[in-house]
Symmetry: C2
Subunit: 764 residues, 2 copies
């Protein structure tokens, strides 16, 4: 055993080490100065948090794993395949049902609210007590939103849309509690109350998170929260299997939310998958398909026309039929893309600043709750102000009947409805549909402009307060309103040509969404599927592409900003070319605490207590004979939880004995995913003098030469889903260890056309 | 240097080695017998051909590559990104234009043929010489098809649909001439003449191949055939970059053929990509988008309504609007999926047998040409027989006018048309559209049945003759005809309910296509985009899934069968679990010819002349001092073409000298992709006594421990795009080498519910 166990070497939390290696890098005479870019040193929020663990997507190649395979044989493999289909089916059905539940509950609560207030209003119109219904309205909204806020205090992992967390999970970072049952409950109930409470939020983002939790839960066949275990599906209790199911769950969530099963698959691929593989894609596709289908069947049944499968998703933009476009409209679409990119970047920047402000000054529970209530009240007040300033905008009710969308009469004569009240007071989904399909002349330009600005600010403020909230629909609504404005403008400029304002609203919506989220292909397909029109697919793609290019000039995508703010060691798709000047030597943590293939129990126990690392390289046990610290060739990697299990199960031998009673994979799976800590292990003095044979349990890990450069290490991490990568020298001796945090530290910043490398610090 | 250079060890063509290692594996006492499956030994066509080279998708990490990066700096990276966009734009435009050209030419030739024959027919109807127009018809078709056949004799790489070849290329196998300019010419002209010649072929598959060739050509900025070089884009002259562009070209081809840009992206991913990455997907998406758009603009202009972007693809199924489905139809769709799977498997089996027969007995050029002419003549004769037996099936012409589809009057009264003649004599695209959209009662059940059976057999016979031909449309047509039969059957069973026969034709078509090709998500999206209807998306997915599951029970997908027939070392998506019992030791080629970091010119020259390997491991040059053959730790890999370039450029040093004049990457790129052979190198005796320093040029390759098992090696090969993988022992000494052929040798066979492992031989 080496003598350096007390040094934080393979330290996933070692800030001082980080700077050591950076300095080492800078002062080396390897003539590899960075040119053409400057290095920004880590300050403030520019940190990688040490509290995130990595997930382990590597294949297990330990001796016991081969033994299990051999024992279970061929039939087992086939049984697992069938089980996978079953799980995918269940994921699809459950996700679909949860989506139906959310939709049903929101409708019921909203209806209750409307009828109650309408009732009061009717009484008051005659009695001149208009402030009573308004106060009632505010009170109801505030209490709904309060429920949502309290749920997040109960389970903070359910805050926001959950998409950043799901992205991180699929990227390989274990975000705490992100897949817990508590998070599901808080998410589902929370989103119901925040949408019903009239906030500028959507229920689609949370559906994606909910789908992921459902998938994670079902695939494990047990719940740590409820302390039950069905003992089925136990073979899927590995990070690798669980990730596959979770990506299917996320896809099923998208499929249910937007009625877009193909979009769901692409979302899972675009946002998560460095692990694309044909078979998995097919499984994901199946889950998405089942999810849409379940939602479709149940929603049709609820709406009273069982069997007519016509409600594919939670959101229904209404079909765009026979809405052609002409080639001379393309420059306008491109311009709209630029606008979406600029507005999106502005939105992201404002929300970033607000989030930082909130991070510093709004910490305590009661302040957070007051902010939530304040947002709820402000939303209503602003809505009223908007309506009163546009009181006279009444339209005949007939077109809205076709859209099957609720209308609000307010001060309008009978047979007419108040246009602004209808988009302000209905759910955001209905508002989007109205903007997409109302005939020309429905909205006045100034009203739309006011609405657009107000809704932009409200949405920006709302995302980040402690409720469960989605950003898709609000983004679409902002974009639809300015898009429709563009349409009205075109109509006024060229009165001889008919410009369908709904079409422009759609492109505005796509552009705004693209400018904020910066996704391309999945958004395009989601929008195509949700509008049900292929013909508009091409301009939608163009608009999204331009919006992304424009937005990327200014800053990062919305979710990426939030991931960075949370100091998650997120690995981007590929390393930048600049980083090829960094070699394994300058990136790795070194020296590393090594264990020998046959190691003394006492040593293992001491190492585990002294260090917080999650993996240890195992080296040849003849090493100590030479008394050379670096000697001992690399044999494999053993994980912390495996060592703890070995200690807990007393799988010990005496020095000259050889191991006979192997632990099985079941022993190691028992406690997945919440492994006991080393503090739970108590050993007698006799036990400490015994030995552990680690060879049957260690995994044959990948190694990399110390000459390798960052791009190669990057492609191994992403392509193979690694958690630990051992750096070896020419003689296959361990010289260092690279973990996800070592790579995530180097981040490229593209801002206003400039590119620079940032090296982030690592915090605890 | 070791003494074993003359042994074919790292032999990419060493059949005897293969069996050695298999025997070694079988006789080892490692208790790893295969259970639950039996091993089939390689016989006959069950071979991996040694003539295929692998492509190298690994990142270059040689010293000179880092030097170039440093020299070119940051601006260069940005310039490359811009260049990539430009190339993607060009790929999209050119692919779109080629698609337009094919479509235009087919239309003109078909029109010429029809008007000529119609002319003769009109003359002859009065003069009772009906056989003259028929003979004319046969003669025209035969001469068109003859042209197509002769083109393939000129460039055999253009035979068939080209999809298997593109799949192989994207998988990492260099199929000879697959991306040559000659292949493009033969493909494009060939498909025009074979479609115009009335064969049961489509022009969509060849579009995918054409797109790939266009992309390969444009991205290189030069042509080896035409011997010109624009000297731009030279930085993209690596296998890795070229593959990215080719996948974009394939996607653009799909986008142009089906008007399905999203389907194109998914096709590239499903069929090719083990290299999924967000940025590349976006590039591919852009190329597809541009391709559809170009086609759309030009086709609209040709059709006389410039600016109205309404012709998204070559094929146009006609929009399915307001075609709902009820839940009780789902079991029927599932049943249709089963039928598609069974018929597809039958088709694949018959074609496989026919191809084997053809392989053995139809080899000579004149026999091949006679077969082509025979197929052309038979197709026409059968068409006439079909028409004469269904002579009285006339329908009023009005519905066809709406479909904008040509009709054939034949013996029908004026104002009516002959239904069978219309589907038999128009292009397959028109026939599919007719079956999808004609009103109920248009076709008689017996006629459809006869047509279906006849077309099934004709298609099966036609695929494989030496013409350029696609299988998409014929498959759709077969499926559409039996699907419509099912619709008619439903209508007769339940006369009270309206079953749209066109909808059933669509599901039949989807099912048949899925049963033959076994693709899922890309086919689903292509069909959704081509029919323009999202509502039918869900049942289409169900049908495709069921068809694939059913078909897979019997045999492999059509293209996979053809890839296997061509003995291509194709790597599937993932290794099967069984193979985890094979370790690197039993799979690798060993021993391996190694070179030292500073190696004598004479030795290099001798090794290159004696061996045909494409990569050599480089070991520490202090190795020989110990005089131990296995000594010398692994340093990197050097490729054959690099060594040849070093020799050709006389980059030599004397023993105690050190290298000063480095070759640059440009020197190595000069001859890409057709590198000179070692026979072109002539060295003087003095030169042979000098040394080469290989260190600046060798690539830091990945290594794997000799304990590793096949699944791990597999995921490295697929995930990292490897060509060579060096196997090292505990001390980092080279013990063997694994190439693609070593992995492709082990193939899982799923047939009629049984699973077995086949070990294929390697042929020369």
């Amino acid at each position: 055993m080496t003598e350096d166990e007390n040094q934080p070497l393979l330290d996933e939390s070692g800030r001082h080490h980080t700077y050591t290696s950076l300095n080492a890098y800078i002062t080396t005479n390897d003539n590899h100065e960075r040119t053409g870019s400057h290095t920004t040193f880590a300050t403030g929020e520019k940190l990688i948090s040490g509290r995130y663990e990595s997930l382990d997507y590597e294949c297990d190649e330990s001796e016991i794993s081969h033994m299990e395979e051999k024992r279970l044989g061929h039939q087992h493999t086939r049984r697992l395949a069938v089980l996978k289909w079953v799980i995918m089916l269940l994921i699809g059905i459950c996700t679909g049902l949860v989506a139906v539940f959310v939709d049903f509950a929101v409708k019921k609560l909203t209806k209750f609210k409307f009828s109650y207030v309408q009732n009061r209003l009717d009484t008051c119109l005659s009695e001149h007590c208009l402030f009573t219904p308004y106060l009632t309205w505010i009170a109801i909204n505030m209490s709904f939103v309060l429920v949502s806020g309290l749920l997040i205090l109960w389970e903070p992992a359910a805050r926001g849309s959950g998409i950043p967390q799901v992205k991180c999970y699929l990227n390989g970072v274990a975000v705490p509690h992100v897949l817990s049952l508590k998070a599901l409950i808080a998410k589902v109930l929370g989103v119901i109350f925040s949408v019903s409470g009239g906030l500028a939020v959507g229920k689609e983002g949370p559906m994606i998170h909910s789908g992921s939790i459902i998938a994670g839960g079902i695939s494990q066949g047990k719940s740590s929260t409820l302390k039950f275990d069905f003992h089925i599906f136990k073979h899927f209790r590995t990070d690798k299997h669980k990730r596959d199911f979770v990506s299917a769950g996320a896809a099923a969530g998208v499929a249910a939310a937007f009625g877009a099963p193909v979009g769901g698959v692409l979302f899972a691929l675009e946002e998560g998958a460095s692990f694309f593989n044909q078979q998995l894609t097919w499984f994901i596709f199946f889950a998405s398909m089942v999810s849409t289908f379940t939602l479709n069947v149940v929603m049709s049944a609820i709406d009273g026309h069982f069997g007519d499968l016509s409600s594919p998703g939670l959101i229904n933009f209404g079909l765009f039929k026979d809405v052609p476009y002409m080639w001379f409209e393309l420059p306008i679409f491109i311009l709209m893309g630029v606008m979406g990119g600029v507005f999106g970047a502005l939105f992201n920047e404002l929300n970033l600043r607000l989030t930082k402000f909130r991070h510093h000054y709004i910490n305590r529970h009661w302040v957070l709750i007051i902010e939530v209530l304040l947002v709820a009240a402000t939303t209503v007040v602003i809505a009223f102000v908007l309506i009163f300033t546009t009181m006279n905008e009444c339209r005949p009710i007939k077109t809205q009947v076709e859209l099957n969308s609720p209308t609000i009469q307010l001060f309008c004569p009978d047979g007419q409805y108040n246009t602004m009240a209808t988009i302000v007071f209905s759910t955001p989904e209905n508002a989007v549909r109205n903007l997409f399909h109302s005939e020309i002349g429905t909205y006045k330009a100034w009203s739309l402009l006011a609405f657009c600005i107000v809704y932009f600010c409200l949405t920006c403020w709302t995302y980040g307060i402690i409720v469960s909230s989605g950003l898709f629909i609000p983004s679409l609504l902002i974009g639809a309103s300015w898009g429709r404005l563009v349409g009205i403008g075109m109509h006024n400029l060229f009165p001889s040509i008919y410009f369908n304002p709904g079409k422009y609203a759609l492109f505005g919506a796509a552009s705004q969404l693209g400018g904020i989220m910066r996704m391309t292909i999945s958004l395009a397909v989601i929008l195509i599927e949700a509008t049900g029109d292929i013909v508009l697919g091409l301009p939608i793609m163009i608009v999204l592409t331009v919006a992304k290019l424009t937005g990327d000039y200014f800053n990062e995508g919305f979710f990426d900003i939030h991931i960075a703010l949370q100091s998650v060691p997120f690995l981007p798709w590929q390393s930048e070319v600049f980083l090829s000047r960094l070699s394994a030597l300058s990136v790795m943590s070194a020296p590393v605490t090594k264990l020998k293939t046959v190691e003394k129990v006492e040593t293992i126990f001491r190492v585990l207590r002294a260090e917080s690392h999650h993996g240890f390289p195992v080296v040849d046990h003849h090493a100590d004979e030479t008394n050379n610290e670096r000697a001992g060739t690399f044999q494999g990697i053993i994980l912390r939880h495996q060592l703890i299990t070995i200690l807990r199960k007393r799988n010990f031998i005496s020095l000259n004995d050889s191991l006979r009673d192997y632990l099985t994979l079941d022993d190691f799976r028992e406690s997945y995913p919440r492994h006991p800590s080393i503090e739970s292990v108590h050993l007698t003095d006799e036990e400490r003098e015994l030995y552990c044979d680690l060879r049957p349990y260690m995994n044959l890990a990948y190694t990399v030469s110390h000459h390798s450069t960052l791009p190669r290490i990057f492609s191994m991490f992403r392509g193979l889903g690694l958690r630990h990568l051992v750096v070896v020298n020419d003689k296959n001796e361990v010289v260092g260890m690279i973990t996800r945090k070592d790579l995530a530290r180097f981040r490229m910043i593209h801002k206003k056309g400039h590119t620079s490398i940032e090296e982030l610090g690592i915090s605890n």
